[in-house]
Amino acid sequence: MTTHGALSVIAGIQPGALPQLTELLGRIEATKEAADGIIPFTGMPDVHFARFVLLLNRTDVQGNVIPDSLSFVTDYDGSETAHLQQLISIGGQGLWQVFSYCANFPAGNYDAAKLQAYLLQHKQKNATFYVGVSGRSVQQIRNEQLLRDEIEQFADASQPLFAGKNPLAIRQQIIEHVFAMPAFGWAHSPEPGMSGGAAFAHWGKLVLVILLVLVLLPVWLPLLIIWVLIVLVQELRDRPRPNVVTKQHLRELTERETGMVQAQFSAVGNLKPGSVRLHTVTFLLGLTNFLAPYLFSKGKLSGIPTVHFARWLIIDDNRQMLFLSNYDGNSESYLRDFINIAAKQLTLLFSHTMGYPETRLMLFGGAAHAREFMDWARCYQTVSQVWYSANKNVSVKNIYTNSAIRNGLYGKPGEEEALKWLRLI
């Protein structure tokens, strides 16, 4: 079992450097899977997803120009220190080239330490980080898919051999076949679980918070009611302007969706003005961040079964929200999932941004206004200039089934259990 991190780096772009930077990002995208690429992501064993997104042509609610920026984000296994080390030792030269177009970047020749310092200096805090793959590493996801493919092939080839055999015998033959292959040496033990101490900390934290919430109920409940009423008054005053989506913008977004299994979504927009909205969204994102590992631990984000990783950030002096996600399917089906399955939950988080369809009590309306929601989402969606996925042909559903197949290789199941296991294949 591994922990996951989400690195978010945002840096201003030097005046006049945008054309060269855009061109460089184009080359990075084109060579992202090559061993000798400018940033050879495939050589970084701990990176699930990575992307570069240019944040351009932005003005805040007051009409002030927000300087053009570059965001660079990764979803990785393990500690941030180890991740930065890997990132720089493998992709340092490329990252140096990229960030040399950014503001306040150190002059001179390549210097790993300076690069690391720059990345850390421009690191932004994620308000919410959602993990859909539970404690699985890049390597585990890859290996377990290979294991499943091998078992499938063996089962297909052995069809005549298996005829008439009972499920326990078939299972035994599959196990013997897999365990005889040195490549699957790692599969001799089940999926690593949470250590006793980690599990204690994980659940202990929840229990503690629940106790605290219960004890303080008389204090926060009246406050909450007043707070919600204040937001309601603001909602009643809100007159969202229609979002105009041009066809050219839509084409630029969808033409980049070329993956067979996965796609990505990047969106940036202004928060509604005022401290009430800011505090509300900060609190709700914080709450989601805390509860997600408990509520959405089985690969479903509010019931949406396709999201690998997602994150929300409040950026540019609390003026804007940045949302980035990696999922299965295409953006049309992804946004439809939002509306059809999780309208209320997502309205709760997104209704504090400008242009969001009319809401009541932060739950009602919103994404339920399907057409206005689609326009809002497409309007604030922005192009991801570079997008990399380490296991690009594996769906979230596959990841969970593959682990279940692996875990079924151990123990002494009864016939019924063995049958159930065989059905997973």
């Binding site: 499943r148 499938e152 089962a155 297909d156 069809q159 298996f162 499920p167 078939i170 066809k247 839509l250 084409r251 969808t254 033409e255 969706e257 070329t258 993956g259 067979m260 299994v261 019931g303 079964p305 299965d328 399917g329 295409n330 049309e332 089906s333 439809r336 509306i339 059809n340 399955i341 339920a368 206004h369 399907a370 057409r371 042909n393 769906s395 559903k397 596959n398 089934t401 049958l419 065989l422 059905r423 294949i425």
Partner: protein, 473 residues
């Protein structure tokens, strides 16, 4: 309750003209705005309306984006049509999205491809028999030269017995019932009119996006006003028509099924029909496999009020990857049963396709198809469907369901009948199909293409008032 203006809706949207089995589709190019408008003025009175009960013959008409351009719609009006309609089905993105690779790639199409003469209009002709159809066609054709119309391609259809398609299966059973058109059906299969006809509320209880045109100075129009002042609702009572010519390789289909089910070198007819039925999701008669798991039952041939969740959630009867379960998962998606039904119904289409080419044999009984060696020539389906949002309905079904190798937890397989396995990122380049069993599933591999896309385009079929607007402007 909304009143549906059947007299303004073209007839083929309202019904499939089952009583008019003879039919031809004519793909037309239009020479000039003026000539095309004169033709429209002439033909307008012949257009069959949805209010006609059982018309003795029928004529319907639809246009591509390019066609509307020739008819003189200005840039800002054209811009109110959706992106999918403007871009068509053959851009590199659409090729990827719809999965038209390999032999189905648009550059190999016989019509509608990127290098071919652009299609402007689709003229649909229906009659009770071939003789009257020929008369109807000749009557139409005599105007072509006069109004600078070019016949790009004439698509003749074939009448197959017992409403079957060429592989030998009863087709066209599952059709949504349009709310407000008077027909009674189960609530699960009754779908808001705005899913198929513009100007009415859709499944989200909203009005679908509708194209708008300016009110022309000095000209009257019976089109209703649009929300925007000075504009008219051009889309009212219209619908988007998706046309795909899909060739079916009956020989390859049944030979594959035969070879894979052979027992000791001998064909096993029963096993063949069983496997083919699992791929389709219905038996040759049309009886759903999830209702009749063991054998065909002609008393169930039109049965459509069934779900998967209660009796078949694992796909032991009807495999998850089968054609009809993929293209309409009903109550079996990854959500509660009622939620799933509600979601599935937001991706329905109204099918109006017809077959073409000589059937392998008249009975289209699998046994006789197998014995027949009469595979010469091309045959297939002119797939035609209506929807109000091409991207949410037809394209969604094609992309998120038919060609999604990961649908509902599957590991790697696409629709066994119409899926395309030539995606450039796919290492396998062949089809797979798993049949769940009580224990280890049966997994079929090396499935060849049974269907090939040969042409296609997106059309808009305007209401009668909108046709009059086009003719008069």
């Amino acid at each position: 309750m909304e009143i549906i203006e059947k007299e303004d809706i073209q007839g083929i949207i309202v019904k499939g003209y089952a009583h008019l089995p003879a039919c031809k589709f004519v793909l037309l190019g239009m020479g000039s705005k003026q000539a095309a408008q004169q033709w429209l003025q002439l033909i307008a009175q012949n257009i069959t309306r949805g209010s006609e009960k059982k018309p003795p013959a029928a004529v319907n008409l639809a246009f591509t984006y390019e066609g509307l351009k020739v008819l003189g719609l200005d840039g800002s009006s054209l811009d109110t049509f959706p992106l999918e309609f403007e871009d068509g089905m053959t851009t590199p993105h659409k090729q990827l999205f719809l999965g038209d690779f390999g032999n189905s790639a648009p550059d190999k199409w016989e019509w509608g491809g990127p290098q071919q003469t652009p299609v402007h209009a689709l003229l649909m002709l229906y009659a009770p028999d071939e003789t009257s159809l020929q008369l109807l066609y000749d009557m139409q054709r005599q105007h072509f030269a006069q109004f600078q119309l070019t016949e790009i391609k004439r698509l003749d259809t074939a009448v197959l017995g017992q409403r079957k398609e060429h592989f030998g299966f009863h087709d066209g059973i599952a059709q949504p019932t349009i709310k407000g058109l008077g027909k009674q059906d189960t609530p699960e299969n009754t779908v808001a009119a705005g899913e198929f006809i513009l100007g009415y509320k859709d499944a989200y209880n909203q009005y679908p996006d509708t194209p708008q045109v300016p009110l022309l100075q000095g000209k009257e129009s019976s089109l209703p006003p649009a929300v925007k002042p000075g504009m008219l609702d051009f889309g009212k009572n219209g619908s988007y028509l998706v046309f795909r010519q899909m060739a079916q390789d009956v020989q390859v289909f049944w030979q594959y099924i035969e070879s894979i089910t052979m027992q000791d070198g001998k064909s096993d007819e029963q096993a063949m029909i069983q496997l083919a039925a699992k791929m389709v999701g219905r038996w040759p008669s049309g009886a759903p496999v999830s209702v009749c798991p063991d054998k065909d039952d002609t008393s169930m041939e039109s049965r459509d009020d069934f779900g998967y969740r209660a009796v078949d959630s694992a796909g032991l009867r009807c495999p998850i990857g089968s054609h009809i379960r993929r293209t309409n998962p009903r109550d079996a998606m990854d959500a509660s049963s009622s939620k799933s039904m509600e979601i599935a119904n937001k991706h329905r289409i109204l099918r109006r396709g017809r077959s073409y080419g000589k059937p392998v044999c008249d009975s289209l009984e699998p046994a006789e198809i197998l014995r027949s060696k009469n595979f010469e020539g091309e045959r297939g389906l002119y797939f035609i469907c209506f929807n109000a949002a091409i991207n949410r309905q037809f394209e969604f079904i094609q992309n998120a369901w038919v060609n999604n190798p990961k649908l509902l937890g599957l590991n790697h397989e696409r629709d066994p009948l119409i899926g395309n396995n030539a995606h450039p990122d796919d290492a396998h380049q062949c089809g797979f199909f798993s049949v769940p069993a009580n224990g280890l599933r049966r997994h079929y591999s090396n499935i060849p293409d049974f269907t090939t896309v040969k042409g296609g385009a997106y059309f808009f079929m305007p209401g009668l008032h909108a046709l009059a607007y086009l003719a008069a402007r």
